[in-house]
């Protein structure tokens, strides 16, 4: 950290000295470039970090600039009070644009935000109060303790201060628990929700940040140019902004800044052939997307591939401390749950009760409703009829993040790790148990956030150590063998300190050794006082691991009891008819191991 600060020092000094070497016009170009850098940071946060396609950033920029212009010229308000109101207006616009994001994502969201941006331009070209096509030209010079801000040189220092502030805030947000949740949401919003991230509020937060940065940039623009007209906020400039973020590297805030500054100067150089400039940006964007998908920020990693030193190894699992059993209350109770999808009945009057510290197996042929049952318990689906109780309290219809905060954790049949987050970050997402309403602290008490982050990191190291993943902490899940990814997912689920753990086919794709280690881990989890419900096709594992087995077929419970009783139940045998009985059992796997 200290070394980073030392690296920053020469950059800061260079930025400070820059105006001494520049002519008046170049200074102005730099001033404009800095404003675009602020905008690019905002777009990087929404699009790169939070994964929300936002083509309305230029409209937030316009709302900021126009609000200042209208308030100062029409109502005679001072520049700074108008600036505060302008930023608030942009944030309000961010909230408004964010509403569609609650319902739709990806290209649909892109079209909706683009439409709203066009609507804004249309309004300012036609509304008398916004000066129509001629714009508003008499914005006052912002007063600042007698400093003459009409000079591009002195304005630069104001911009530099604001820029440093918003850059540090953006870096702080990305590296904090909030930023991690935003990135987790970008990679997989379902999994993020299941780990306690409040998805609707997070999406709104992303758009609020976008509005905030757009508003700040708009105020700076109004103070610098002292004139606003619709052309500045048109779709061509939105594309330029998008190009800045993509060329720089959308997931990296510093990359966005480099992209913005770089392209702003390229634009200046192309001023004489401005008719073809758009074509030029288009070609550059295509080349970058094809050859450097992570933009300039991803270039160092692409050029200097990390030396493959020692191959990381999986360490053994460190068992949890055994907790003596308390009363045998029922942790999960499912009462007459039915789930219908239009005509299809996925679950029909399913009832089961899981006492504390039990490993409950759920088995059944494909399509028998096992995963649907998990989705109902973890809140992804709302049951059509019936009740789900957790520790005696009804939890039917609660959102996944609420259930996660109440102590339900799950894994997924087809692995849902956050692909672009490291293993450590995957664990950290689950460790963060705060509600999103906690985010006011990011503005008011940043040091409290830093302290919290440090404590999370300490606990993440513990979890990594326990699951033997320490050497993989900085790896990207995609690059890991399947068996290790499975273990990361269990570690991530356990990091949220659940009282009920739902494992959906945890042994799928594992070899004999790995199945054995999995059974060891699950038993230790049970002994630490967590109730485990596991869907599994590997009948050998089910027989040896589970205390109690429930068999589903065609959406109904057809058998329920200890494993050895259920295995000989004629209805079960009929339902299965040889299905997956041949998979390696834990005991066989041990034998194999001993033979070697």
């Amino acid at each position: 950290m200290r070394r980073r600060l030392l690296l920053l020092a020469p950059i800061a000094v260079a930025a400070w000295l820059l105006p001494y070497g520049l002519g008046g016009y170049t200074m102005h170009v730099v001033d404009v470039a800095v404003i675009f850098a602020v905008l690019a940071i905002g777009l990087g946060l929404t699009m790169g970090v939070a994964g929300q396609i936002n083509l309305a950033q230029v409209a937030f920029f316009g709302i900021g600039a126009y609000t200042v212009a209208i308030l100062t010229s029409r109502t005679g308000l001072g520049f700074w009070p108008a600036a505060v109101l302008a930023i608030l207006a942009s944030i309000a616009a961010g909230l408004l644009v964010g509403i569609p994001a609650l319902r739709m994502q990806s290209h649909y969201l892109g079209i909706v935000t683009l439409g709203l941006a066009l609507g804004f331009i249309n309004w300012v070209t036609n509304a008398g109060i916004a000066g129509r096509a001629e714009g508003i030209s008499d914005i006052p010079v912002p007063p600042l303790f007698g400093i003459d801000l009409s000079s591009g040189y002195l304005y630069y220092y104001l911009e530099l201060a604001v820029f440093a502030l918003v850059l540090v805030f953006a870096l702080f947000v990305t590296r904090s628990p909030l930023g991690r949740r935003l990135r987790a949401m970008r990679d997989d919003d379902l999994a993020a929700g299941a780990l306690g991230a409040e998805i609707p509020l997070l999406r709104m937060t992303a758009f609020v940040l976008s509005g905030l940065y757009g508003g700040v940039a708009g105020v700076l623009y109004a103070g610098l140019i002292r004139f606003v007209a619709p052309e500045t906020f048109n779709i061509g400039n939105m594309f330029l902004l998008l190009a800045m973020v993509i060329i720089g590297g959308r997931a990296s805030i510093v990359g966005c800044v480099i992209g913005a500054l770089g392209l702003a100067f390229v634009r200046e150089a192309l001023l004489d052939v401005s008719a073809f400039a758009q074509l030029g940006y288009g070609i550059v964007v295509v080349l970058v997307v094809v050859f450097f998908p992570k933009g300039l920020a991803g270039l160092p990693a692409q050029v200097f591939r990390r030396k493959t030193g020692e191959r990381p190894r999986l360490s053994p699992f460190v068992p949890y401390d055994e907790v003596p059993p308390a009363d045998a209350r029922s942790v999960l109770e499912i009462d007459q749950v039915t789930k219908r999808f239009k005509g299809l009945v996925a679950l029909q009057d399913v009832s089961l009760s899981v006492p504390a510290r039990q490993i409950r197996g759920i088995v059944g042929p494909n399509g028998s409703g096992k995963t649907t049952l998990f989705n109902v318990i973890s809140g992804f689906y709302t049951a059509t009829a019936g009740r789900v109780r957790l520790d005696g309290a009804s939890v039917g219809g609660l959102a996944p993040y609420r259930l996660s905060l109440k102590g339900v954790a799950r894994t997924f049949q087809n692995l849902r790790l956050f692909e672009d987050l490291t293993v450590r970050d995957n664990i950290l997402v689950a460790l963060d148990r705060t509600r999103t309403s906690w985010i006011w602290r990011y503005l008011a008490l940043p040091w409290a956030v830093s302290r919290y982050e440090r404590s999370l990191r300490g606990r993440a190291d513990e979890v990594l150590h326990r699951f033997g993943l320490t050497e993989f902490a900085d790896a990207i899940p995609r690059s890991l063998p399947y068996g290790i990814q499975r273990r990361v997912e269990i570690a991530r689920a356990m990091a949220s300190l659940p009282s009920l753990l739902l494992l959906d086919e945890p042994a799928a794709g594992l070899n004999g050794d790995e199945v054995g280690r999995l059974a060891e881990i699950v038993r230790s989890i049970r002994d630490s006082g967590v109730t485990v419900v596991v869907i599994e096709h590997n009948m050998g594992l089910v027989m040896s691991l589970c205390d109690h087995v429930t068999v589903l077929s065609g959406g109904r419970v057809i058998a329920d009891g200890p494993p050895d009783e259920v295995a000989v139940d004629p209805r079960v045998v009929e339902a299965y008819l040889g299905d997956s009985m041949a998979a390696p059992t834990e005991r066989e796997a041990e034998h194999e191991h001993a033979d070697r």
Binding site: L5, L6, A9, A12, V13, W16, L17, P19, Y20, L22, G23, G24, Y25, H28, V29, V32, T125, N126, R132, A133, E134, G135, S137, D138, S150, S151, G152, Y153, L154, I225, R226, F227, A229, E231, T232, L271, D272, S274, A275
Partner: protein
């Protein structure tokens, strides 16, 4: 430790004088006198910008051939504003930091409006070809118009149509760009003062090419006069499509409709009889204009027109003022421009406190694609 050194260095820097450059806008007393010409050379309105530049260049070249100002040559540099006000503000800063004494242009009111505050701060006089009433409203002591404002154009037009000819059923079609909306507002105001309510008031966008739905609505009202508030090509398209729809109304409008671009776009037959309000009706209107038109044709091989003439007038006024100040710029030059009384191609220049020099226009009718004074018919 090192951090403290950095902090000390930074503290020392703040104590130094703030950066900046000496604004050399009034220029050195030797070498060429630098004049900037800012006009759209690319984009939709580039033809306007190119005409303006030719007119300005003609005047400057003449002055240079005649020995310049106080023995110093005039250096005319062209900048492309792309018709974008924000690019205009950038250029305004470039002009003020590069030591230009004056600026000629732009042909677009929106760009000039954006540049005006910066040029005013830098004390650089600007003679613009824009004619939006908002330019006059700024009351900047450094901004001068080389033509009347839309108010004058449209007041003259309304006077002719309503007071003289007695038309009452008047329909409006205008675009919502800077020029079109200025025309719309000015003409509506003139009508209102005469207690005439337009029978239709259609607003289109500057990019629009198909006006059939707007014109169909206007046709239902069967107006006597259709006022067109748009640039040359768009005015021509509107006139053409209106006739194709069977609209019989007389077309009326400002300076764009006096151009051959309007007449050829509309078709000579369709443009016939259009009423235009302009300070410069044709290249034949007076001996001075005839002489100018001949000079222009000799220099560029094309016919002169209003845009060329007013740019030439503006540049001539600037040169006359520079001769008075001996090449000096700033407040002195602005005052000198205000003092110039010139019998120009567009009429008698006599600047008021709004920076407007010409206060009347003439009414012309289009005959065979040429505007002829209305009284002659």
């Amino acid at each position: 430790m090192r951090l403290t050194i950095v902090a000390v260095v930074l503290a020392a820097l703040t104590a130094c004088a703030p950066p900046g450059e000496n604004s050399g806008s009034s220029g050195e007393a030797t070498g060429p006198i630098k004049i900037a010409n800012v006009n759209a050379q690319s984009g939709q309105l580039s033809s306007l910008g190119k005409w303006e530049n030719k007119g300005v260049k003609l005047a400057v070249d003449e002055a240079n051939k005649a020995g310049g100002v106080n023995g110093r040559q005039l250096q005319l540099d062209l900048f492309d504003d792309q018709g974008d006000p924000t690019v205009g503000t950038n250029l305004a800063r470039k002009i003020s930091s590069d030591g230009y004494v004056a600026m000629l242009g732009t042909a677009e009111s929106a760009v000039t409006l954006a540049m005006a505050p910066i040029l005013k701060d830098a004390k650089i006089p600007n003679i613009t070809s824009g004619q939006s009433p908002k330019l006059a409203e700024l009351k900047s002591p450094f901004l001068f118009l080389n033509a009347p404002t839309s108010v004058t154009f449209d007041e003259t037009l309304a006077k002719y149509l309503v007071d003289e000819k007695g038309y009452q059923k008047i329909a409006l079609i205008s675009n919502n760009g800077a020029y079109g909306s200025g025309e719309h507002d000015a003409f509506s105001k003139s009508l209102k003062a005469r207690n005439v309510t337009p029978v239709a008031d259609e607003v289109v966008t500057p990019e629009q090419k198909d006006f059939n739905s707007n014109l169909a609505k206007i046709r239902q009202q069967n107006p006597d006069v259709l006022f067109i508030g748009a640039e040359e090509v768009q005015s021509g398209l509107i006139a053409k499509q209106a006739r194709e729809l069977g609209l019989k109304a007389i077309f009326a409008g400002g300076a764009p409709m006096g151009t051959d671009v309007y007449a050829t776009t509309a078709g000579l037959a369709n443009a016939e009889g259009s009423v235009v309000s302009s300070p410069y009706l044709s290249n034949e209107a007076s001996p001075a204009i005839k002489e100018f038109a001949a000079k222009y044709k000799a220099a560029y091989g094309e016919d002169a027109r209003l845009h060329v003439a007013k740019a030439y007038d503006g540049a001539s006024i600037l040169i006359e003022a520079l001769k008075k100040t001996g090449g000096k710029g700033g407040q002195e030059l602005a005052d000198a421009i205000r003092g110039v009384k010139r019998d120009g191609l567009l009429g008698q220049y006599n600047y008021d406190e709004f920076g407007v020099g010409i206060h009347e226009t003439k009414i012309g009718l289009i005959k065979q694609g040429q505007a002829v004074p209305a009284t002659a018919s």
